[in-house]
């Protein structure tokens, strides 16, 4: 390598460092050189906790937009991804390019560890509310969902369905509720944090005495409810409830009167991604107007982009009382949540 190239590499390094130290990097739009470089790499590995079939659909949509680049989806529960990424980095394995997770505390942790690259797509800089993006530009909310209660419409009449979290504690639902696990799902971790903060641990303690069926992923309670395995689901990703309902599954969400937990999911680029340009192109696309509209249209997710239109059949956020996420406070509470949850639910 010539001296000049060393020197320029050094300057880029300094520039990156100073950008990282001061504030978010310059917003990046999708440029032709980026697309060309990404095509050269030909592939992007996407670590995500979005429900599997939904995640594969997103991958296929990206492949349709950029046919030269294939997407490998590595889907697992957010808490599992968290563990996996730590293991891989500990062993110096670099597979992931772009990462997405429904537990914002994971992104905070990865940022602190220096595992994320600062990267701000143009749309994020322009339109995202300040509380839905990292001030230093390491990640941004790329999906937003709620966690409603849900019931099987064949087994439960609308008027009998629970209207609130308090209703779930009724004796008639003992042994009839299915619920996902915060040790697996980032969505449920966030939900458990919000419920313990706003309704108190006493509610979860009582729910634990209802003989709930314990499953892992936030995508599973809606599946179990639609199958009729249990008539009531206590928590879930709203997007998946709506997907099943849309396919004709006998399921209906209920937005509880105490408020519905909300779950922002963040996405970012891995600092030493093996396909750095494809990773940036993928994240730019995912956070663009088109990508966000696609998440809503195909997956029934919500977007924090104000320009994105809701799908018919989705209740607007303005009509729902929403329990707010608070990643910083949640991060401090994680150990307590795990301990108390194990105590009250036995697992």
């Amino acid at each position: 390598m010539s001296a000049i190239r060393w020197l320029s590499a050094f300057f880029i390094f300094v520039a990156v460092l100073s950008a990282a130290a001061s504030a978010a990097p310059t917003p990046a739009s999708i440029t032709q050189p980026l697309v060309d470089a990404a095509k050269q790499e030909g592939k992007v590995v996407f670590y995500t906790s979005i429900e599997l079939q939904t995640a594969e659909k997103i991958g296929k949509a990206f492949e349709a937009a950029y046919p030269e680049i294939s997407v490998q989806v590595e889907r697992n529960g957010c808490e599992r991804l968290f563990q996996r990424l730590a293991e891989e980095r500990g062993s110096n394995i670099h597979v992931a390019d772009a990462i997405e997770c429904s537990d914002m505390t994971a992104l905070l942790y990865w940022k602190r560890q220096g595992w994320l690259a600062p990267f701000v797509p143009a749309d994020v800089a322009e339109k995202w509310p300040a509380d839905q993006r990292d001030p230093d530009g390491y990640f941004a909310t790329e999906r937003f969902t709620l966690s409603p209660i849900m019931y099987n419409t064949k087994l439960v009449k609308t008027e009998d369905a629970p209207k609130s979290f308090a209703d779930l504690l009724d004796k008639k639902w003992t042994g009839k509720i299915v619920k996902a696990h915060p040790g697996y799902s980032g969505t449920i971790m966030t939900v458990t944090f919000e419920l313990s903060r706003d309704l108190g641990w006493d509610y979860l303690k009582k729910l634990g005495q209802q003989h709930v069926m314990q499953v892992q992923s936030a995508a599973e309670p809606p599946k179990k409810v639609a199958q009729g395995e249990r008539p009531i689901g206590a928590d879930a990703g709203e997007y998946f409830v709506l997907q099943i309902r849309n396919q004709g599954g006998p399921i209906e969400p209920v937005y509880p009167s105490e408020g519905t937990p909300s779950i922002p999911g963040g996405a970012g680029v891995i600092v030493d991604a093996p396909h750095p340009n494809a990773a940036r192109l993928f994240i730019s696309w995912l956070l663009s107007r088109d990508g966000q509209q696609l998440l809503v249209d195909t997956a029934w997710l919500r977007s924090v982009d104000p320009d994105v239109k809701l799908k018919a059949g989705m209740k607007p956020l303005s009509e729902i009382k929403v329990l707010k996420a608070d990643p910083a406070a949640q991060e401090k509470a994680v150990d307590e949540i795990k301990k108390k949850y194990a105590e009250y639910f036995g697992l």
């Binding site: 590995v45 599997l52 991958g59 889907r75 996996r84 040790g183 009729g228 395995e229 008539p231 697992l347």
Partner: protein, 572 residues
């Protein structure tokens, strides 16, 4: 006698004996394979997070009810599984091997099919069948008796349900070992009993049963230990029911923030228990001589069932329905409808699951390829290793051969998930950084499958009297030549069976694999487990059936291959 023969053989021939260095080499490899992860586990169990020596892990283990409980639960479940599987395997094995039961060949083949079934796939199939509300059997039960919703006959999410499913999928171990043993009993022993006036039940009790006792004990022991150390089935059935067994508890210890020290300590009692059990078996059988293949033997005689043929067949089919017919019917149905509880009608038929698995799911092809590749390599390497070790130990060829035998058996005591962590600890640091490659999975599979292969080949060697080899040595052949020309052909069936055992074992393995795969080294079992955690039963069914078809193809090819010397019959 043996010693003088060997001296004469040495005087006659001048061929150098290459066996010793080969055996030492393999012994060394085996030591590394087993001792390295065990060493790390041992070290982790007596240290704390800062690396300081500490017994705190064991204190906590003995006093914390959240550990003692899962241990007791797991022991109770494992004992029930071993008993249940033996009780169903004994009559079926006897019917198939020793009577004129109709369709006995097909029944044998079907039991092999149930052995091919990964236990976690069976557990998922039984969820589809016997979940209390959406389970197909419970739906039928309600429809037939006109009962209310929520009434149910079966609840698979219970300890009993767990025992039932695990027994279904450890029953083939006992069945295969028993039928092989029954096949090999020389007819003259039973005839002698009959001539001396023994009634048929007396012959069964005094001659046949004692002859197959080693196989039965070996099978029951494998069933017990498998049930104790299995991860997939309890994770699928016990967690929704709200209780832990020891393996799921250990697995939970690796969730963030991981506590490998406590997990290592939690695994060590399993190792001790297994050593005790193996020692007990040795003590029970040690002094008896079970050489059943001698230079001459007659084919065993089949017993005519007469009028009992048809009830016996009904019994056999009922036993087969549980691990095979019902679960596979459920999987096939789930593969072709959208929601597993949908009725099977023209309206609900869909190719959605098949299309998803083969066209949309980006991990399918890589995982299938990895699985088959690892299966074939691990089966070949594992069989070779098991063959050598059982030969060395059974014939007492090198000093310390008992220790080799122990090393080859020890992995059975290590829950896969803990072995996975042992391997993780061993191979994520220099000099051998294998995590993230297929090599670490290969090492895991070799280690895990070695005990089963070793047990099977050792039993085969035990049944093979040294007189045949000694005859070869008398005529001046070297040990390796004797091994190749006499021992190997005699063991041909066992060797092929072992190869298939190991291959299928790799297909079935989940507990260690789940700790060791990365995005590029996924195998099908892990994908199925991941899919189950998100409830994608349709995709699981498609993948499970695909896995089964591939396994049958590979096993079919393996058993048809001409090789390993001449067929056995010529020697009689």
């Amino acid at each position: 006698m043996t010693i003088t023969i060997q001296r004469r053989a040495l005087r006659i021939g001048w061929h150098p004996d290459l066996s010793a260095p080969l055996f030492v080499l393999i012994g060394g490899f085996l030591c590394g394979l087993v001792l390295l992860p065990l060493g790390w586990l041992g070290w982790y169990s007596v240290t704390d997070a800062n690396g300081a020596l500490s017994l705190a892990n064991f204190t906590r283990l003995a006093t914390d009810p959240t550990f003692v409980g899962p241990y007791l639960t797991a022991l109770g479940i494992a004992a029930s599984v071993a008993a249940g599987a033996s009780v169903s395997a004994i009559p079926l094995a006897w019917l198939v091997a020793r009577t004129d039961l109709p369709l006995r060949g097909a029944i044998r083949a079907l039991v092999t099919a149930s052995f091919v079934t990964p236990p976690f796939l069976g557990a998922i199939a039984w969820e589809i069948l016997a979940a209390p509300n959406s389970g197909i059997l419970n739906q039928w039960y309600r429809a037939i008796f006109g009962l209310d919703p929520y009434e149910h006959l079966f609840d698979i999410y219970t300890a009993e349900g767990l025992v039932f499913v695990m027994a279904c999928y450890s029953f083939p171990y006992i069945f295969v070992l028993l039928t092989n043993a029954l096949d090999n009993i020389p007819a003259e022993l039973e005839e002698a009993s009959a001539i001396l006036g023994g009634t048929r039940p007396a012959t069964l009790r005094r001659v046949t049963l004692p002859m197959v006792l080693p196989a039965l004990l070996a099978g029951a022991l494998v069933a017990f230990l498998q049930a104790l150390t299995q991860f997939g089935t309890p994770a699928i059935l016990a967690l929704p029911a709200g209780f832990h067994v020891i393996t799921t508890k250990i697995w939970a210890l690796f969730q963030y923030p991981p506590d490998p020290h406590l997990a290592a300590a939690a695994a060590l009692p399993l190792l001790l228990l297994t050593i005790l059990l193996l020692q007990g078996r040795q003590w029970l059988l040690g002094r008896r001589n079970y050489a059943v293949i001698g230079g001459k033997t007659g084919a065993p005689r089949r017993i005519g069932l007469g009028i009992w043929r048809w009830p016996a067949l009904a019994f056999a089919l009922a036993v087969l329905a549980l691990p095979i017919l019902l679960p596979y019917a459920a999987l096939i149905k789930t593969a072709i409808v959208r929601t597993p509880s949908d009725l099977l009608t023209l309206d609900t038929l869909t190719l959605h699951n098949i299309r998803f698995v083969f066209l949309e799911f980006s991990q399918t092809r890589l995982a299938l390829w990895n699985t088959v590749l690892l299966g074939v390599i691990a089966a070949t390497g594992g069989t070779f290793l098991a063959l050598t070790v059982s030969y060395v130990t059974q014939r007492g060829l090198v000093p310390g051969h008992r220790f080799l035998g122990f090393l080859a058996t020890a992995p059975i005591a290590i829950p896969g998930i803990v072995l996975g962590v042992g391997l993780f600890l061993s191979y994520t640091r220099p000099p051998l950084v294998l995590y993230g490659t297929l090599w670490i999975l290969l090492l895991a599979f070799l280690t895990i499958e070695l005990p089963a292969g070793y047990q099977q080949l050792q039993a085969a060697f035990r049944g093979l009297h040294p007189e045949l080899e000694e005859a070869g040595r008398i005529f001046g052949a070297t040990r390796l030549r004797v091994l190749w020309r006499i021992t190997a052909p005699l063991l041909r069936t066992s060797v092929i069976a072992t190869w298939c055992f190991v291959f299928i074992g790799v297909i079935r393995e989940l507990s260690a694999t789940i700790m060791l795969t990365t995005a590029q080294t996924k195998v099908v079992s892990v994908i199925i487990y991941d899919l189950n955690e998100s409830g994608d039963l349709g995709a699981i069914s498609v993948l499970g059936i695909t896995l089964l078809v591939i396994t049958f193809l590979v096993v079919g090819i393996a058993t048809q291959l001409p090789g390993l010397g001449r067929p056995q019959e010529r020697l009689v």
